[in-house]
Symmetry: C2
Subunit: 182 residues, 2 copies
């Protein structure tokens, strides 16, 4: 059934690939310039990214081998939102699972979209403060190292691309601005 999507017309759609983590759809479209074509999009579960900040301005990062970029990546705590969860509950769960950490204070710092033309998978950003550490509950597939650095060192790691994961870069720079902007 034909429908419009902004300046696009979608004549039909087909799911061309699906796994538990991603879905790829190919649409038959009329483009904004009136020409016919196809447009493929990738849908992944929405996610959360959390930066845990200690009273002494230390933050907790993780280093893990990331499959798609084929190397270790230093990132804030991140994960997918499950179907029965709201973003804050997912953030609390991921912080507990990855760092063994509960936080008494949560600040919502907006949303980031990884690739707006092709990928649908918004990441919700959170600052977690007033931390209490217990024990981690990591999944067995995950080999994760925890890295504790000062917030300003994390900012420097973003500036010189030691950290490149998009939501991690945005969250670290947003928190630095949130805490330190005049």
């Amino acid at each position: 059934m034909t429908r419009t999507l902004g300046p696009w017309v979608i004549k039909g759609t087909a799911r061309v690939y699906q796994s538990p983590w991603i879905e790829v759809r190919e649409d038959q479209v009329i483009r904004p310039d009136g020409k016919a074509g196809t447009f493929a999009t990738v849908r992944m579960k929405p996610g959360v990214s959390v930066l845990a900040l200690d009273a002494d301005e230390s933050v907790y990062l993780t280093s893990e081998f990331r499959y798609a970029i084929e190397r270790e990546s230093i990132e804030v705590v991140s994960g997918a939102i499950e179907e029965d969860e709201n973003p804050l509950d997912a953030a609390k769960r991921e912080l507990r699972e990855e760092l063994g950490c509960e936080a008494e204070e949560w600040v919502e710092l907006g949303v980031v979209d990884p690739f707006t033309s092709i990928v649908n998978s918004p990441a919700n950003l959170f600052l977690a403060r007033r931390l209490n550490f217990t024990a981690t509950e990591r999944e067995s597939t995950e080999i994760i190292e925890t890295i504790k650095v000062k917030l300003l060192e994390a900012v420097q790691m973003v500036m010189d691309s030691r950290i490149t994961h998009g939501p991690s870069c945005v969250l670290i720079l947003k928190i630095n601005h949130y805490l330190n902007a005049p």
Copy 2:
């Protein structure tokens, strides 16, 4: 042929979808915990994102309907790197095509990865200064509005999620830090 990828073992790989813009591969893997499974990744052309900054601290953003997130998105000038290009040449071309602008001064501000576990498509970030405007050479599929705001207003737009495109958020906050950090 079996190969290792960090803590993963890849037993085989199949291309399950391809278009001019994306390629989806499904690998047969042995996961870090020793269990067999499949892992799908999405490859897109590497890209560039450019923020043009005027002598009066104005920056030039674009607003365009973005297909995957199904709404208008305010972003810095962005596009894919073509096969015969290096990142800087792609950045110069995109700035010329989208804004009709040449810049005499270029600052490289690193790389951002949109989704490190599943997507391979790094974006190279640039600040462009000392601008000269000529005429735009936009592609016919693109309906783009240009928005000129002060850099600090662009930072505020990132902070309150009026801008959510990942590389745009990172580049705007990096430039603000680069220019204004003590």
